[in-house]
């Protein structure tokens, strides 16, 4: 297994990026890499060691990270230095509450997912509170979510097509489990560069945007508490679904995110509280385990879409391929445009 990505792969990744970008439209199967068999999942060894980071969801459990002091390296402005490449460890957005359970109602599950073992051998729900792992929808909202979930495989209405499939931003929280992404930090800012859009977290305490401005990624104000980046998100247009299971919020949603980084700076847990009295019966908490990726990791275009930069004679430096969902640049009918071009 090579430990660095060769420069020659760059052109191929350029093509792969486009394929991945279009995957939700063409065939979700292309995005769901087969994971190793689940039979070893019952051993007592730490999850990260049981499965090499090959597929998308390669952990079935993950450690809690406690909020506390930051003892690692800091940037000159005092922020904990957490810059770099990150990705979630338990699965993509196929299924919000059963991240390794495939897409409910999938007419061809075998093609898309590995054979499912018992629920307890798969990663837990991303809903860590309430304890049943379910989003506490009001009855009408539960019915709407299930309507979306059924519609995912039978898009007889435009709203059943996931906006991400049209290159809309993944939004919150889906951006944290749709491909790997990068964190860059600056005095006063933490910047997330996702595969589908960016978020600028303002650390300077300025007020939120006026309430009538609604955005795909909301408006973010953050501050550091020891090892934890705390971010208050408002102004969310809530058009991005959480998953392919139709989970949603309304534009009234208020999200408080806690990014809790481990002492070794190799992992963080995203722990976010969603409050929206117009859709849910109570606030709920979403937890997404995430880990750092470097060029020392095995090649993985889903989690770590980089190549080694052309830097002869120097240590390997990751180069990030232009983050443009090519369909953005084609609008509807991009598939036809592509076909004509090829």
């Amino acid at each position: 297994m090579t430990t660095t990505v060769s420069v020659q792969n760059r052109a191929r990744w350029g093509v792969a990026a486009f394929v991945l970008a279009l995957a939700p439209v063409i065939a979700p199967a292309q995005e769901y890499e087969p994971a190793p068999a689940t039979t070893a999942a019952s051993t007592a060894a730490p999850a990260a060691k049981r499965r090499p980071p090959g597929g998308i969801g390669y952990e079935t459990s993950f450690p809690e990270i406690k909020s506390g002091k930051w003892t690692g390296k800091r940037l000159p402005d005092g922020q904990p230095d957490v810059a770099g490449d990150w990705s979630n460890t338990i699965g993509n957005h196929d299924n919000f509450t059963d991240p390794q359970g495939g897409i409910p109602g999938d007419p061809a599950p075998a093609a898309r997912t590995r054979k499912l073992g018992p629920r307890e051998e798969r990663a837990p729900s991303r809903v860590s509170d309430p304890a049943d792992g379910e989003i506490p929808y009001q009855p009408w909202a539960r019915a709407k979510q299930q309507e979306f979930a059924v519609g995912f495989f039978n898009a007889v209405k435009p709203e059943y097509i996931e906006p991400l499939a049209r290159c809309a931003p993944s939004g919150i929280p889906k951006s944290f489990f749709w491909h790997g992404y990068e964190i860059r930090q600056y005095p006063g800012y933490v910047v997330f560069l996702f595969g589908s859009g960016w978020r600028i977290i303002h650390l300077d305490g300025k007020p939120h945007l006026p309430a009538n401005i609604k955005l795909w990624n909301g408006d973010s104000r953050g501050h550091w508490e020891g090892n934890t980046l705390v971010v208050d998100v408002s102004n969310n247009n809530s058009k991005a679904r959480f998953s392919r299971t139709g989970d949603f919020a309304s534009e009234n949603v208020h999200i408080v995110e806690r990014y809790i980084f481990s002492a070794d700076n190799k992992r963080y847990n995203y722990v976010a509280t969603f409050t929206d009295p117009t859709v849910y019966t109570r606030p709920f908490t979403v937890t997404v385990p995430s880990r750092r990726w470097t060029l020392n990791d095995p090649k993985n275009d889903w989690h770590f879409p980089v190549v080694a930069a052309n830097s002869p004679g120097k240590e390997a430096i990751p180069d990030h391929v232009e983050r443009i969902c090519v369909e953005n640049n084609g609008g509807f009918g991009q598939l036809a445009v592509q076909a004509k071009k090829n």
């Binding site: 760059r10 350029g14 435009p158 709203e159 910047v191 303002h202 945007l209 058009k239 052309n310």
Partner: protein, 278 residues
């Protein structure tokens, strides 16, 4: 009206600059000796007053920037059109040296601009158009790179300043190109290659092909103004390299921030109503 006032101010400054370059330069250089620890590079306008610098002394381009020029309405000098203010242009020598065949294509683009301008579809504007497009962009600066986040379409461009080179394979056909920069004194010089042919240079149909090569020169001439120059070459489209120059001004309004503008979603926004109880 406000736009036009700003524009005339800008033009006035430009003409004064070119008429009294000798005198102005020496005066400004003297000021620079007093105020700035690093001597200004010889190209472009001289630095006036103190400019922000990062630890280590390089100029600090961090901030939110925007042109007040009408460059996107046409890089060459033009009279007023409906919906577009007049402009003395930003092309050195006034004329883009299109080859005869390319000039024909540019004219066709102009006729079809109300339909074919990639801006209207919110496609990525590319390089250099994103820089002088009349919508703000933010520069985030580290030692190893500058990250340019464009409000329009939310595209992100990285200028690498870590000594890395263009990729060995140059057929990636990027929208924004592959940007590798280095410092020449206080000027950031950026070599940009590896483009696709999908972007325009203005809303009047100025265009390029995949052979586009852009060399940018970024320089802070005071704390709140960037003198942005670019040399543009593409042997498939132009008979020789040509130059543009435009000023970028810092947004200093209280609490000013980029507001995400994923404008390509506007056409399908209507299909995603927020669910409500029946």
């Amino acid at each position: 009206m406000i736009m036009r006032e700003k524009l005339s101010l800008n033009l006035k400054n430009t003409s004064r600059r070119s008429q009294s370059l000798g005198l102005g330069l020496s005066a400004a250089l003297a000021a620079c000796f007093l105020a700035s620890p690093v001597l200004a590079a010889s190209d472009g306008d001289a630095i006036v007053g103190k400019i922000p610098r990062v630890a280590g002394g390089k100029p600090d381009f961090s901030g939110i920037w925007q042109t007040t020029s009408a460059a996107d309405q046409g890089l060459e000098p033009h009279e007023a059109r409906k919906g577009a203010p007049p402009s003395a242009g930003i092309v050195d020598g006034d004329v883009i040296p299109y080859t005869p065949a390319a000039l024909e294509k540019k004219k066709k683009n102009y006729e079809a601009r109300a339909k074919d301008d990639p801006r209207l579809k919110c496609w990525t504007l590319g390089t250099p158009r994103g820089i002088y497009y009349p919508e703000p962009f933010q520069i985030f600066q580290r030692t190893q790179d500058l990250t340019l986040v464009f409000e329009f379409g939310d595209s992100v461009r990285t200028i690498h300043t870590d000594g890395t080179l263009h990729p060995v394979d140059t057929d990636n056909e990027f929208w924004l190109g592959d940007s590798r920069g280095h410092w020449e004194g206080d000027t950031l010089v950026v070599d940009v290659r590896d483009f696709n042919d999908q972007t325009w240079l203005s809303r009047v149909g100025d265009f390029h092909d995949e052979a586009l090569h852009v060399v940018e020169r970024w320089k802070l001439i005071d704390a709140n103004t960037i003198d942005y120059k670019a040399t543009i070459e593409d042997p498939k489209v132009y008979s020789r390299p040509w130059n543009i120059e435009v000023y970028l001004y810092r947004h200093r309004e209280k609490n000013f921030q980029l507001i995400e503008n994923y404008c390509y979603t506007l056409d399908y926004d209507q299909y995603y109503p927020i669910p409500k109880p029946q």
